[in-house]
Symmetry: C2
Subunit: 345 residues, 2 copies
């Protein structure tokens, strides 16, 4: 293997000079620098990562804690992962993908062995057992997802409460007075997926403020079941004119449910979901939606993490909790309720 010693020899300088010529950390005469760069090219030298990590205490690797849970939609996870991965590379970091079942053990292993300079964590639960370990680690951590206790970590998430209010408000303004909200499966909630009730509670409150009726339900994550559940909900609430959906499986099943019932949107029923543009593309969903922005959240988390890693002053700054304001992507699936249309005639 070719070492910096080989480079130094070929360039006729000492190893320290070769090292400085490459890092630019002290002034080097142009002539020497060029000889070193030539030698690097000719020999095909790449610094040994382990040796460098040992000498500098920096690995240029970030851990990405990501679990693929059966009740979370995999392509959505992928959006976060791609945002994290792309941003990390732009900033010069590689990604260690940690999908272990036993995440707490994995965190200990990876942080204590100094394999990584920082940690990005996904699938955040309301009270997440991984959090104490992250706080105890010497490396900084950034979360995508809002836990109950944010101390000691940087937190990024969609403002799900605002999203809930926004969905209700959007349909209220169009004239709707009775709505149905279908949320994620209840076991996502039980596992600590707080975004479910954050959206739902805010939606309920906003409906109360506006004096309109909002029926809430937890939907399955599986397709055949969720289709039936939607049908049942529509049967149970025939006066409802709008559907709010915070459940990927439900929204994916909706087009065929509507088709079967002979309903078109927005003429017969206004529909608004909460998912990502990428999800909409994959399933070619025709509905308006509140953008979940998984890739943006991933980017933000990595940027903050790297700032904390690379700047000692940033490392001392207070941790941030940043909730992204949701935005509606209008695909034309919401409009005035049928009753109003009739009146207009």
């Amino acid at each position: 293997m070719v070492t910096i010693g080989d480079v130094a020899k070929a360039a006729g300088v000492s190893r320290s000079t070769a090292s400085y010529a490459l890092s630019g950390k002290r002034a080097i005469s142009d002539e020497v620098r060029l000889r070193v760069e030539d030698a690097v090219k000719n020999l095909g030298y790449t610094p040994n990562a382990g040796a460098r990590a040992l000498a500098t205490s920096q690995t240029m690797v970030l851990a990405l804690l990501a679990q693929f849970l059966p009740d979370e939609f995999a392509p959505a996870m992928l959006q976060y992962i791609m945002g994290v991965s792309d941003t990390a590379r732009e900033l010069g970091y590689d990604i260690l993908l940690v999908t272990d079942e036993e995440q707490t053990k994995a965190i200990e292993r990876i942080t204590r062995s100094r394999m990584v300079d920082g940690v990005v964590m996904l699938n955040v639960a309301e009270t997440d057992e991984r959090l104490p370990l992250l706080r105890a680690a010497r490396q900084p951590a950034a979360l995508v997802g809002l836990p109950h206790d944010c101390t000691g970590v940087d937190v990024f998430d969609l403002d799900f409460e605002e999203a809930g209010r926004m969905m209700v408000e959007h349909l209220h303004r169009l004239g709707h007075r009775e709505l149905i909200l279908i949320s994620q499966p209840e076991h996502v909630l039980e596992r600590g997926g707080a975004y479910v009730w954050r959206l739902q509670d805010a939606a309920v409150e906003q409906a109360r403020v506006r004096g309109i009726v909002l029926h809430t339900a937890f939907g399955s994550a599986q397709q055949p079941e969720i289709g039936q559940e939607i049908n049942d909900l529509l049967d149970a609430h025939p006066a409802a004119t709008g559907l709010l959906i915070n459940n990927e499986a439900a929204v994916a099943a909706l087009p065929s449910v509507l088709h079967e019932r002979g309903l078109t949107s927005p003429e017969d029923l206004s529909v608004i979901g909460r998912y990502s543009a990428e999800f909409a593309r994959t399933f070619s969903l025709p509905f308006s939606f509140v953008e979940g922005a998984p890739d943006r959240l991933g980017r933000m988390a990595v940027r903050q993490l790297v700032k904390r890693i690379e700047s000692t002053s940033a490392a001392k700054e207070p941790h941030v909790v940043r909730l992204l304001s949701p935005e509606i992507a209008d695909r034309g699936s919401t409009g005035a309720p049928p009753a109003d249309r009739h009146r207009r005639r």
Copy 2:
């Protein structure tokens, strides 16, 4: 940070003894070993990964080269990734996820800096520009996907030719005499996705052998387009009684296409696809399919890679090309063609 020196001091032994007590690479008295283990626990010692890598030339990390291409279905990719990741952890390795656009540069960076002990590569193209770099690297590599030239690497893939034959044969046996095969988009082929024509060519040949008609077509990867294309194909070939689908987007769109046309399967049309059980679950597809076995292939690749890494004798053995025999998961969407059913009456 707590080092092996601290452990040695606490246990009252030399650093080498502490090291040997932990690795078990030479006989240590029970008494000393227990003192060392106690010290490790009390101090919370975990070996520094960089230092160990430098001393042993082993990182216990595998690179996973995976690109998320817009025309490849993301959840399918995830199945490979999960198979690789899970197996790696079982065998004691962590995963460096490499999604760089410039994969060749990434391979150089990662192998020459000795960040990893081996490489698993996905999205293999017929003539893959990454392959020469993998061959030049000192670390072994395993591919999931069959390239034209397999020298110097271990290769695992589904036997797509057998899959193509199997699909035709399955429907031929049921009495079908005219079939339609919808493949991946043509640009997947152009990018070098050889599995597309491997399946198609074998299907065409088998149809020829059996003397039956097989219409072939490339389908889009996008949902609204592919739905229309399926409709057009069914209109163009009204005598076709069976549909073979090697295209995730097409099969995901099929249920609503059939529904719109008032067709049921297998009564009006026999359908058989090529995808994974996980894909079937996510989209709750009711069709019989040839299992693509992404998780199994990922497992096989990692197992072989680790064998080559850890055993010097295995490292010298000739490289393998292993094609997994496809299996049909029967979901009851194939049967006798409508004509036969009528005759039976």
